[in-house]
Amino acid sequence: MSIIKVENLYKVFGKEPNRAIEMVNEGHKKDEIMAKTGTTIGINNVSFEVEAGESFVVMGLSGSGKSTLIRCLNRLIEPTLGSISIHDKDITKMDKNELSELRKESVSMVFQNFAIFPHYTVLENASYGLKVMGVAKEEREQKALESLEAVGLKGWENYYPSKLSGGMQQRVGLARALATDPDILLMDEAFSALDPLIRKDMQTELLELQDKLQKTIIFITHDLDEALRLGDRIALMKDGEIVQIGTPEEIMMSPATEYVEKFVEDVDRSRVLTAEMIMKKSSTVIHYPKDGPRVALHRMKENDISSIFAVDKQNRLIGIVMAEDALTAIESNETSLDSIIQKDIPTALPDTPLKEMFALMTGKNVPLAVVDEDSKFKGIVVRGTVMAKLAEGGNAND
């Protein structure tokens, strides 16, 4: 079920928003409208839905409207036209009190520059949302302590933020957002101000937290690596429009426009990583034609895998056998692998780059075999490794 539903959303900064919307619908460009009417198109006819528990990443260059979009979701910025439903209620029609309730109860936010209150202690910061809700002091401090603990800041409650590093300050920001136990977390470039190592740690921690808490997260970033790593789905924005929405794989595989392609090309750094560097060398194989389906199944069970590669005596790759097929063969009392072995499978060379491996694997549920020029079996690469490395940016020295 979708928890957020945005339909035909527009935001125009400046006077005469209606005229600007008319012009944009007639196909005029953002710059042209700016020149003619003096208004800026922040959001241009954006529609999307987000499922409960989903991590939805919005990506785009600076000025593409990401911050504007995320601020429309809690109406820190008033949308000009269109509707936004959260829990099936149109928030664009909410009055002040309803809106305040929404912000207190269901939607909280983490900011790019942390926006931690310098005159409050870490604990007071973390309990701020609860204070606004009118929760009694003892109870709110109890809850704030729990959420500080969840982000790894136990013991820092009584410090002032100025004593904390950037990464720790953003943990306070995260704790503050989590303390009210909202359904939806809005994170506007929450990790962009952090240095790369800390940033990666924070991503890991967010993923771990998300595993436990199952919040719906809208995460803004201008960084593809971060998007790939955090997003269940990614929306790409340009000039206020969403140009593509899809899973990380879809975006990488079939960039909808040149703009997306440019973004995706950024990950060409992943060329640095090759199959040889990420493959598992010590993987179990069966021998063809010596072994039959029973041996194959036995090996798979032993190693807790669902498919296995077959090689000949010279260790040349012959094909792959799936567990289900082996099972069927056993039931029909076959003793050879001939009827079930799949020989036409994609393979990678030791120096095949990461991105190509990704392409080879798409849509297939089996690991990729790595072979040398003489078809000699070298090892396997599993899908998870490829995705993880892609998300990390694919640098060889990681």
């Binding site: 601020r71 809690n74 820190l76 002040k96 305040s100 309730e101 929404l102 912000r103 207190k104 909280s108 936010m109 900011f111 790019q112 520059n113 926006a115 931690i116 209150f117 310098p118 005159h119 701020y128 949302g129 204070k131 606004v132 809700m133 503050r176 009210t180 809005l186």
Partner: protein, 278 residues
């Protein structure tokens, strides 16, 4: 010769009479209120034995600022006692402090109001600019007209004169709080008032304190001029010295004012710095 005469003087006098007539209940209430404030301050400073005041002031300064300034305060006050200007000095302190208090009482809320509304700020700004360009004597006129001669009208003149920095710096302090801070408060459901109370005002305090400092210094400067309409205190000592060409007396009065000016300036400055650090 052309016969050309504008009876502006009469118009204003008549108009003024009418205005004061209709305003008289309000003016009387305001006058009573101001009298209570200034009287309260004077009693507080003049009723206890001098040495008690000196010690208490020195201790307060020590707590609020530093021991060095506390020593200065004690010696300075002792000096005024020795120069036999204790009473006018205390009267001046009472006048300057009550002027500051009333200025802040009106100026800070006005500044907050202007920070919340662009319209209000756009109306207030030229008025404040105008007020600051006027020579300080001009403030004496409406004060005397509405409240006659005496301490109350001195207080009113001081209040009008010293208020602009309080308004201005309050507005500035609130407006310069970063947008992201305000957004953060609002994103958690804070309304306007709560955002102001929780975030904007606390973060604006260093700037507001700078306004308080300016306000005190201007109030003190104005006490001297306000002696012309019955403000009393050290200003009166200086005024009398000029009328009687008594240079020595003028110097003594001037010295008292300088001591107060240094003490009040350093004190508020140190407090501002301490606030900023926290």
């Amino acid at each position: 010769m052309i016969d050309f005469f504008i009876p502006l003087e009469d118009w204003i006098n008549i108009g003024f009479e009418k205005v004061t007539y209709y305003l008289s209940p309000f003016l009387r209430a305001a006058s009573n209120f101001l009298e209570i404030i200034i009287g309260g301050f004077e009693d507080l400073l003049l009723w206890p034995p001098e040495i008690v005041i000196m010690i208490v002031v020195a201790l307060l300064v020590w707590i609020l600022a530093s021991y060095r300034l506390a020593i200065f305060a004690f010696v300075g006050l002792l000096l005024t006692f020795g120069l036999d200007i204790w009473e006018p000095t205390m009267a001046t302190v009472a006048l300057a402090l009550s002027g500051t208090a009333v200025s802040l009482l009106v100026g800070v809320p006005l500044g907050i109001f202007a920070s919340q509304s662009n319209v209000v700020e756009r109306i207030l700004r030229p008025i404040l600019d105008f007020m600051q360009t006027l020579p300080s004597f001009v403030y004496l006129i409406p004060a005397v007209m509405f409240f006659g001669m005496g301490k109350v009208s001195a207080l009113v003149a001081i209040m009008i004169f010293a208020m602009p920095p309080a308004v201005r710096l309050t507005t500035l302090g609130i407006r310069e709080v970063s947008g992201e801070m305000v957004e953060a408060a609002r994103a958690f459901g804070s309304g306007r008032w709560q955002t102001l109370k929780d975030v904007q005002l606390p973060l604006a305090i260093p700037t507001i304190m700078a306004g308080v400092n300016q306000c005190i210094m201007m109030a003190l400067a104005m006490t001297v001029i306000a002696s012309m309409i019955g403000g009393g205190g050290l200003g009166n000592v200086v005024l009398r010295s000029m009328q009687t060409l008594n240079i020595g007396m003028g110097a003594v009065g001037g010295l008292g004012i300088v001591i107060l000016a240094i003490l009040l300036d350093r004190l508020t400055e140190t407090i501002s710095k301490k606030v900023k650090k926290d």
